[in-house]
Amino acid sequence: MSALTGFGVVLLAVFLLLAMTFIRRKSPPVFREIAAFTRLRRAAGLAVEDGTRLHVSLGRGGLQSARGASALAGLALLRRLAEQASGSDRPPVVTSGDAVLAYLSQDTLESAYKAAGAVELFRAETGRLSGLTAFSYAAGAIPVVRDENVSASVLIGHFGPEAALLTESAERENAFILAAADEPATQSILFASVQDPLIGEELYAAAAYAGAETSHAASLQVQDILRWLVVLALLAGAAMKLAGLL
Protein backbone atom coordinates (compact mmCIF):
# COMPACT_ATOMS: atom_id res chain seq x y z
CA MET A 1 0.00 0.00 0.00
CA SER A 2 2.74 2.50 0.99
CA ALA A 3 4.79 1.71 -2.13
CA LEU A 4 1.75 2.30 -4.32
CA THR A 5 0.98 5.57 -2.50
CA GLY A 6 4.58 6.66 -3.11
CA PHE A 7 4.29 5.72 -6.76
CA GLY A 8 1.05 7.70 -6.99
CA VAL A 9 2.75 10.78 -5.50
CA VAL A 10 5.62 10.44 -7.99
CA LEU A 11 3.20 10.09 -10.93
CA LEU A 12 1.22 13.11 -9.72
CA ALA A 13 4.44 15.13 -9.42
CA VAL A 14 5.51 14.10 -12.95
CA PHE A 15 2.13 15.09 -14.36
CA LEU A 16 2.14 18.44 -12.54
CA LEU A 17 5.73 19.17 -13.56
CA LEU A 18 5.02 18.58 -17.24
CA ALA A 19 1.71 20.47 -17.12
CA MET A 20 3.18 23.46 -15.27
CA THR A 21 6.18 23.62 -17.59
CA PHE A 22 3.78 23.77 -20.54
CA ILE A 23 1.55 26.40 -18.90
CA ARG A 24 4.48 28.47 -17.62
CA ARG A 25 5.89 28.91 -21.13
CA LYS A 26 3.19 31.47 -21.83
CA SER A 27 3.85 33.73 -18.84
CA PRO A 28 7.10 34.99 -17.27
CA PRO A 29 7.77 33.63 -13.76
CA VAL A 30 7.17 35.92 -10.78
CA PHE A 31 8.99 35.11 -7.53
CA ARG A 32 8.71 36.44 -4.03
CA GLU A 33 11.75 38.43 -2.92
CA ILE A 34 14.46 36.44 -1.13
CA ALA A 35 17.23 38.78 0.02
CA ALA A 36 19.99 36.16 -0.24
CA PHE A 37 19.39 35.61 -3.97
CA THR A 38 19.27 39.35 -4.69
CA ARG A 39 22.62 39.71 -2.94
CA LEU A 40 24.01 36.68 -4.79
CA ARG A 41 23.18 38.22 -8.18
CA ARG A 42 24.94 41.43 -7.13
CA ALA A 43 27.95 39.53 -5.73
CA ALA A 44 28.29 37.42 -8.90
CA GLY A 45 28.24 40.56 -11.05
CA LEU A 46 30.79 42.30 -8.82
CA ALA A 47 33.10 39.27 -8.91
CA VAL A 48 33.23 39.44 -12.72
CA GLU A 49 33.80 43.21 -12.70
CA ASP A 50 36.57 43.35 -10.10
CA GLY A 51 38.38 40.19 -11.19
CA THR A 52 37.73 38.18 -8.05
CA ARG A 53 36.51 34.61 -7.83
CA LEU A 54 33.25 32.86 -6.99
CA HIS A 55 33.58 29.81 -4.76
CA VAL A 56 30.81 27.21 -4.86
CA SER A 57 30.86 24.44 -2.29
CA LEU A 58 28.53 21.56 -3.11
CA GLY A 59 28.76 19.69 0.18
CA ARG A 60 29.25 15.97 0.57
CA GLY A 61 25.91 14.55 -0.49
CA GLY A 62 26.72 11.59 -2.71
CA LEU A 63 24.34 10.94 -5.58
CA GLN A 64 24.00 7.32 -4.44
CA SER A 65 22.35 8.51 -1.22
CA ALA A 66 19.11 10.31 -0.38
CA ARG A 67 21.20 13.50 -0.01
CA GLY A 68 21.89 13.58 -3.73
CA ALA A 69 18.94 15.85 -4.55
CA SER A 70 20.47 18.81 -2.70
CA ALA A 71 23.69 18.24 -4.66
CA LEU A 72 21.70 18.26 -7.92
CA ALA A 73 20.11 21.57 -6.88
CA GLY A 74 23.62 22.88 -6.22
CA LEU A 75 24.78 21.76 -9.67
CA ALA A 76 21.82 23.54 -11.29
CA LEU A 77 22.80 26.77 -9.49
CA LEU A 78 26.46 26.22 -10.40
CA ARG A 79 25.52 26.00 -14.06
CA ARG A 80 23.85 29.44 -13.94
CA LEU A 81 26.63 31.06 -11.93
CA ALA A 82 29.35 29.61 -14.17
CA GLU A 83 27.61 30.94 -17.27
CA GLN A 84 27.42 34.41 -15.68
CA ALA A 85 31.07 34.31 -14.61
CA SER A 86 32.47 32.71 -17.77
CA GLY A 87 33.74 36.08 -18.99
CA SER A 88 35.74 36.64 -15.82
CA ASP A 89 39.57 36.48 -15.68
CA ARG A 90 39.22 34.23 -12.67
CA PRO A 91 36.81 31.33 -13.27
CA PRO A 92 34.61 30.06 -10.42
CA VAL A 93 36.13 27.35 -8.27
CA VAL A 94 34.04 24.46 -6.96
CA THR A 95 34.80 22.22 -3.98
CA SER A 96 33.02 18.98 -3.14
CA GLY A 97 33.25 16.32 -0.49
CA ASP A 98 32.20 13.49 -2.78
CA ALA A 99 34.14 12.20 -5.78
CA VAL A 100 31.14 11.75 -8.09
CA LEU A 101 29.99 15.25 -7.23
CA ALA A 102 33.45 16.66 -7.99
CA TYR A 103 33.40 14.97 -11.38
CA LEU A 104 29.89 16.29 -12.11
CA SER A 105 30.95 19.79 -11.06
CA GLN A 106 33.72 19.67 -13.70
CA ASP A 107 31.22 18.51 -16.29
CA THR A 108 28.76 21.25 -15.31
CA LEU A 109 31.48 23.92 -15.50
CA GLU A 110 32.54 22.67 -18.93
CA SER A 111 28.93 22.72 -20.16
CA ALA A 112 28.46 26.27 -18.87
CA TYR A 113 31.62 27.46 -20.61
CA LYS A 114 30.53 25.76 -23.84
CA ALA A 115 27.11 27.42 -23.62
CA ALA A 116 28.81 30.77 -23.10
CA GLY A 117 31.14 30.13 -26.07
CA ALA A 118 34.27 30.22 -23.91
CA VAL A 119 35.18 26.54 -23.60
CA GLU A 120 38.90 27.36 -24.00
CA LEU A 121 38.76 29.07 -20.59
CA PHE A 122 37.58 25.92 -18.81
CA ARG A 123 40.10 24.30 -16.45
CA ALA A 124 39.37 20.89 -14.94
CA GLU A 125 41.23 21.88 -11.71
CA THR A 126 38.46 24.36 -10.92
CA GLY A 127 36.16 21.46 -9.97
CA ARG A 128 37.90 19.91 -6.97
CA LEU A 129 37.47 17.12 -4.52
CA SER A 130 38.66 18.78 -1.32
CA GLY A 131 38.28 15.85 1.09
CA LEU A 132 36.35 12.65 1.63
CA THR A 133 35.34 13.06 5.28
CA ALA A 134 33.36 15.93 6.82
CA PHE A 135 36.27 17.79 8.35
CA SER A 136 38.87 16.97 5.70
CA TYR A 137 36.40 18.41 3.19
CA ALA A 138 36.11 21.61 5.25
CA ALA A 139 39.87 21.72 5.82
CA GLY A 140 40.44 21.38 2.07
CA ALA A 141 37.88 24.05 1.14
CA ILE A 142 39.00 26.71 3.65
CA PRO A 143 42.35 27.46 1.88
CA VAL A 144 40.44 27.99 -1.38
CA VAL A 145 38.44 30.80 0.24
CA ARG A 146 41.54 32.22 1.94
CA ASP A 147 44.14 32.02 -0.84
CA GLU A 148 42.30 32.33 -4.14
CA ASN A 149 40.92 35.86 -4.03
CA VAL A 150 37.32 34.76 -3.41
CA SER A 151 34.74 37.52 -3.07
CA ALA A 152 31.60 35.36 -2.89
CA SER A 153 31.19 31.93 -1.38
CA VAL A 154 28.12 29.80 -2.07
CA LEU A 155 27.48 26.76 0.11
CA ILE A 156 24.69 24.64 -1.28
CA GLY A 157 24.05 20.94 -0.71
CA HIS A 158 24.39 18.49 2.13
CA PHE A 159 26.53 19.77 4.99
CA GLY A 160 26.99 18.88 8.62
CA PRO A 161 28.25 21.20 11.36
CA GLU A 162 31.50 21.70 9.41
CA ALA A 163 29.57 24.30 7.37
CA ALA A 164 30.22 26.76 10.23
CA LEU A 165 33.98 26.50 9.61
CA LEU A 166 33.45 27.32 5.93
CA THR A 167 31.18 30.31 6.63
CA GLU A 168 33.62 31.56 9.27
CA SER A 169 36.53 31.47 6.81
CA ALA A 170 34.49 33.28 4.15
CA GLU A 171 33.48 35.93 6.67
CA ARG A 172 37.11 36.47 7.65
CA GLU A 173 37.84 37.28 3.99
CA ASN A 174 34.85 39.68 3.88
CA ALA A 175 33.29 37.52 1.18
CA PHE A 176 29.57 37.41 0.48
CA ILE A 177 28.09 34.13 1.73
CA LEU A 178 25.01 32.31 0.50
CA ALA A 179 24.39 29.14 2.48
CA ALA A 180 21.74 26.47 2.07
CA ALA A 181 21.75 22.98 3.55
CA ASP A 182 19.22 20.15 3.50
CA GLU A 183 19.71 19.18 7.18
CA PRO A 184 17.55 21.05 9.73
CA ALA A 185 20.39 20.90 12.30
CA THR A 186 22.81 22.47 9.81
CA GLN A 187 20.20 25.07 8.91
CA SER A 188 20.11 26.14 12.56
CA ILE A 189 23.90 26.51 12.50
CA LEU A 190 23.70 28.57 9.30
CA PHE A 191 20.94 30.70 10.85
CA ALA A 192 23.45 31.73 13.51
CA SER A 193 26.45 32.17 11.24
CA VAL A 194 25.20 33.71 7.98
CA GLN A 195 23.51 37.03 7.14
CA ASP A 196 20.66 35.54 5.05
CA PRO A 197 20.47 31.77 5.39
CA LEU A 198 18.14 29.80 3.14
CA ILE A 199 15.70 27.74 5.18
CA GLY A 200 13.92 24.55 4.17
CA GLU A 201 13.05 24.08 0.53
CA GLU A 202 14.53 27.47 -0.48
CA LEU A 203 17.65 25.46 -1.36
CA TYR A 204 15.76 23.88 -4.27
CA ALA A 205 14.65 27.29 -5.57
CA ALA A 206 18.21 28.53 -6.09
CA ALA A 207 18.48 27.77 -9.81
CA ALA A 208 15.10 29.37 -10.53
CA TYR A 209 16.16 32.55 -8.74
CA ALA A 210 19.49 32.58 -10.55
CA GLY A 211 17.62 33.10 -13.81
CA ALA A 212 17.01 29.61 -15.08
CA GLU A 213 14.41 28.26 -17.50
CA THR A 214 10.63 28.19 -17.20
CA SER A 215 10.80 24.57 -16.08
CA HIS A 216 12.59 25.68 -12.91
CA ALA A 217 9.78 28.11 -12.13
CA ALA A 218 7.28 25.36 -12.90
CA SER A 219 8.98 23.01 -10.44
CA LEU A 220 8.60 25.62 -7.70
CA GLN A 221 4.88 25.76 -8.43
CA VAL A 222 4.67 21.97 -8.29
CA GLN A 223 6.35 22.04 -4.87
CA ASP A 224 3.74 24.58 -3.70
CA ILE A 225 0.85 22.42 -4.94
CA LEU A 226 2.29 19.28 -3.34
CA ARG A 227 2.87 21.16 -0.08
CA TRP A 228 -0.79 22.21 0.02
CA LEU A 229 -1.82 18.61 -0.63
CA VAL A 230 0.37 17.45 2.27
CA VAL A 231 -1.15 20.14 4.53
CA LEU A 232 -4.66 19.01 3.57
CA ALA A 233 -3.74 15.36 4.15
CA LEU A 234 -2.33 16.19 7.59
CA LEU A 235 -5.43 18.18 8.54
CA ALA A 236 -7.72 15.43 7.24
CA GLY A 237 -5.73 12.84 9.19
CA ALA A 238 -6.00 14.90 12.38
CA ALA A 239 -9.74 15.42 11.88
CA MET A 240 -10.31 11.69 11.24
CA LYS A 241 -8.29 10.84 14.36
CA LEU A 242 -10.42 13.26 16.40
CA ALA A 243 -13.58 11.71 14.99
CA GLY A 244 -12.30 8.23 15.90
CA LEU A 245 -12.14 7.07 12.29
CA LEU A 246 -8.40 6.27 12.43
Partner: protein, 205 residues
Amino acid sequence: MNRPFAAAIAIAIGLIVLLGYFLPIPVLSVLRLELVQWAILLAGIAALVGVFNLISVHWQKIRRRERGNFYSAVLLLTMFVTLAMGLLLGPTHSLMQSLVEAVIIPVEASLMALLAVTLVYASIRLFRRRVDLMTVVFLLTLLLVLFLLTPIPSGGLSGLADLARSIINVPASGGARGILLGVALGALVTGLRVLLGMDRPYGGK
Protein backbone atom coordinates in the same frame (compact mmCIF):
# COMPACT_ATOMS: atom_id res chain seq x y z
CA MET B 1 29.76 10.20 -25.69
CA ASN B 2 27.05 11.79 -27.81
CA ARG B 3 25.05 13.94 -25.39
CA PRO B 4 21.48 12.99 -26.44
CA PHE B 5 22.57 9.34 -26.29
CA ALA B 6 24.00 9.85 -22.77
CA ALA B 7 20.77 11.56 -21.71
CA ALA B 8 18.67 8.70 -23.12
CA ILE B 9 20.74 6.10 -21.22
CA ALA B 10 20.59 8.13 -17.99
CA ILE B 11 16.82 8.62 -18.24
CA ALA B 12 16.19 4.95 -19.08
CA ILE B 13 18.32 3.69 -16.19
CA GLY B 14 16.74 6.21 -13.82
CA LEU B 15 13.26 5.03 -14.79
CA ILE B 16 14.18 1.35 -14.38
CA VAL B 17 15.58 1.98 -10.89
CA LEU B 18 12.58 4.12 -9.89
CA LEU B 19 10.02 1.61 -11.16
CA GLY B 20 11.99 -1.21 -9.54
CA TYR B 21 11.44 0.44 -6.17
CA PHE B 22 7.69 0.82 -6.55
CA LEU B 23 6.41 -1.99 -8.73
CA PRO B 24 6.56 -5.62 -7.55
CA ILE B 25 7.88 -6.94 -10.88
CA PRO B 26 10.78 -9.42 -10.35
CA VAL B 27 12.66 -8.44 -13.54
CA LEU B 28 12.65 -4.78 -12.54
CA SER B 29 13.85 -5.60 -9.00
CA VAL B 30 16.75 -7.69 -10.32
CA LEU B 31 17.68 -4.98 -12.82
CA ARG B 32 17.46 -2.30 -10.12
CA LEU B 33 19.81 -4.16 -7.79
CA GLU B 34 22.27 -4.81 -10.62
CA LEU B 35 22.25 -1.16 -11.73
CA VAL B 36 22.66 0.12 -8.17
CA GLN B 37 25.68 -2.19 -7.78
CA TRP B 38 27.16 -0.76 -10.98
CA ALA B 39 26.60 2.73 -9.58
CA ILE B 40 28.47 1.81 -6.38
CA LEU B 41 31.34 0.38 -8.44
CA LEU B 42 31.50 3.51 -10.59
CA ALA B 43 31.43 5.69 -7.46
CA GLY B 44 34.50 3.78 -6.22
CA ILE B 45 36.31 4.47 -9.49
CA ALA B 46 35.21 8.12 -9.27
CA ALA B 47 36.82 8.30 -5.80
CA LEU B 48 40.10 7.20 -7.37
CA VAL B 49 39.73 9.84 -10.12
CA GLY B 50 38.93 12.37 -7.37
CA VAL B 51 42.17 11.54 -5.57
CA PHE B 52 44.11 12.11 -8.81
CA ASN B 53 42.29 15.44 -9.13
CA LEU B 54 43.39 16.31 -5.59
CA ILE B 55 47.00 15.39 -6.42
CA SER B 56 46.86 17.45 -9.64
CA VAL B 57 45.48 20.55 -7.89
CA HIS B 58 48.11 20.48 -5.14
CA TRP B 59 50.92 19.65 -7.56
CA GLN B 60 49.97 22.73 -9.63
CA LYS B 61 50.02 24.81 -6.44
CA ILE B 62 53.54 23.66 -5.67
CA ARG B 63 54.74 24.13 -9.25
CA ARG B 64 53.37 27.68 -9.47
CA ARG B 65 54.65 28.49 -5.96
CA GLU B 66 51.21 29.70 -4.93
CA ARG B 67 50.32 30.84 -1.43
CA GLY B 68 50.10 27.88 0.96
CA ASN B 69 52.16 25.61 -1.31
CA PHE B 70 54.05 24.29 1.73
CA TYR B 71 50.82 22.71 3.01
CA SER B 72 50.21 21.22 -0.44
CA ALA B 73 53.65 19.63 -0.30
CA VAL B 74 52.92 18.21 3.17
CA LEU B 75 49.60 16.87 1.92
CA LEU B 76 51.14 15.14 -1.10
CA LEU B 77 54.03 13.73 0.92
CA THR B 78 51.75 12.27 3.61
CA MET B 79 49.35 11.00 0.97
CA PHE B 80 52.08 9.06 -0.85
CA VAL B 81 53.67 7.79 2.37
CA THR B 82 50.29 6.57 3.65
CA LEU B 83 49.48 5.00 0.27
CA ALA B 84 52.85 3.22 0.15
CA MET B 85 52.47 1.95 3.71
CA GLY B 86 48.93 0.82 3.02
CA LEU B 87 50.04 -1.09 -0.07
CA LEU B 88 53.04 -2.68 1.64
CA LEU B 89 51.57 -3.44 5.06
CA GLY B 90 47.84 -3.66 4.36
CA PRO B 91 45.10 -1.54 5.94
CA THR B 92 44.73 -3.77 9.02
CA HIS B 93 48.40 -3.56 10.06
CA SER B 94 48.93 -2.10 13.55
CA LEU B 95 51.07 0.76 12.17
CA MET B 96 48.31 1.77 9.78
CA GLN B 97 45.77 1.56 12.59
CA SER B 98 47.91 3.72 14.85
CA LEU B 99 48.33 6.28 12.03
CA VAL B 100 44.56 6.63 11.92
CA GLU B 101 44.21 6.71 15.70
CA ALA B 102 47.14 9.05 16.34
CA VAL B 103 46.74 11.48 13.45
CA ILE B 104 43.40 11.46 11.66
CA ILE B 105 41.05 11.03 14.62
CA PRO B 106 42.77 13.67 16.86
CA VAL B 107 42.93 16.18 13.99
CA GLU B 108 39.22 15.73 13.20
CA ALA B 109 38.40 15.91 16.93
CA SER B 110 40.34 19.16 17.25
CA LEU B 111 38.41 20.61 14.30
CA MET B 112 35.21 19.61 16.10
CA ALA B 113 36.44 21.45 19.19
CA LEU B 114 37.23 24.48 17.04
CA LEU B 115 33.70 24.27 15.72
CA ALA B 116 32.28 24.68 19.25
CA VAL B 117 34.21 27.95 19.65
CA THR B 118 33.15 29.07 16.15
CA LEU B 119 29.49 28.48 16.94
CA VAL B 120 29.63 30.36 20.25
CA TYR B 121 31.32 33.27 18.45
CA ALA B 122 28.70 33.16 15.65
CA SER B 123 25.87 33.24 18.21
CA ILE B 124 27.41 36.28 19.90
CA ARG B 125 27.68 38.06 16.56
CA LEU B 126 24.14 37.16 15.56
CA PHE B 127 22.66 40.27 17.15
CA ARG B 128 25.13 42.46 15.30
CA ARG B 129 24.29 40.78 12.02
CA ARG B 130 20.51 40.56 12.21
CA VAL B 131 18.13 41.91 14.83
CA ASP B 132 14.58 40.64 14.39
CA LEU B 133 11.98 38.59 16.24
CA MET B 134 13.29 35.25 14.94
CA THR B 135 16.81 36.05 16.13
CA VAL B 136 15.51 36.85 19.62
CA VAL B 137 13.41 33.65 19.72
CA PHE B 138 16.35 31.58 18.43
CA LEU B 139 18.83 32.88 21.01
CA LEU B 140 16.37 32.79 23.92
CA THR B 141 15.42 29.18 23.13
CA LEU B 142 19.06 28.23 22.78
CA LEU B 143 19.98 29.77 26.12
CA LEU B 144 16.91 28.33 27.87
CA VAL B 145 17.54 24.78 26.64
CA LEU B 146 21.26 25.02 27.46
CA PHE B 147 20.43 26.30 30.96
CA LEU B 148 17.78 23.64 31.57
CA LEU B 149 19.99 20.79 30.38
CA THR B 150 23.05 21.87 32.39
CA PRO B 151 23.64 19.22 35.10
CA ILE B 152 23.16 20.63 38.60
CA PRO B 153 24.96 18.67 41.36
CA SER B 154 22.09 18.87 43.86
CA GLY B 155 19.71 17.24 41.39
CA GLY B 156 16.80 19.19 42.86
CA LEU B 157 15.67 20.71 39.57
CA SER B 158 14.98 17.55 37.59
CA GLY B 159 11.64 18.98 36.38
CA LEU B 160 13.57 21.55 34.38
CA ALA B 161 15.11 18.80 32.26
CA ASP B 162 11.57 17.65 31.43
CA LEU B 163 10.72 21.19 30.35
CA ALA B 164 13.82 21.24 28.10
CA ARG B 165 12.89 17.87 26.63
CA SER B 166 9.35 19.08 25.93
CA ILE B 167 10.74 22.15 24.12
CA ILE B 168 12.95 19.86 22.02
CA ASN B 169 10.27 17.23 21.41
CA VAL B 170 7.27 19.46 20.67
CA PRO B 171 8.00 22.86 19.03
CA ALA B 172 11.53 22.07 17.81
CA SER B 173 10.66 18.63 16.41
CA GLY B 174 7.43 19.97 14.89
CA GLY B 175 9.32 22.76 13.14
CA ALA B 176 12.04 20.37 11.96
CA ARG B 177 9.42 17.99 10.54
CA GLY B 178 7.80 20.87 8.67
CA ILE B 179 11.19 21.80 7.21
CA LEU B 180 11.87 18.16 6.31
CA LEU B 181 8.54 17.90 4.47
CA GLY B 182 9.49 20.93 2.39
CA VAL B 183 12.97 19.52 1.77
CA ALA B 184 11.50 16.14 0.77
CA LEU B 185 9.17 17.76 -1.76
CA GLY B 186 12.04 19.84 -3.14
CA ALA B 187 14.19 16.71 -3.40
CA LEU B 188 11.39 14.83 -5.18
CA VAL B 189 10.87 17.54 -7.79
CA THR B 190 14.62 18.06 -8.28
CA GLY B 191 15.10 14.32 -8.81
CA LEU B 192 12.25 14.22 -11.29
CA ARG B 193 13.73 17.15 -13.21
CA VAL B 194 16.91 15.13 -13.72
CA LEU B 195 14.96 11.96 -14.47
CA LEU B 196 12.91 13.74 -17.15
CA GLY B 197 16.04 15.28 -18.67
CA MET B 198 15.10 18.87 -17.79
CA ASP B 199 18.39 19.19 -15.86
CA ARG B 200 21.38 17.24 -17.12
CA PRO B 201 24.32 17.39 -14.73
CA TYR B 202 25.87 14.47 -16.66
CA GLY B 203 26.72 16.44 -19.78
CA GLY B 204 24.63 19.58 -19.64
CA LYS B 205 22.42 21.04 -22.25
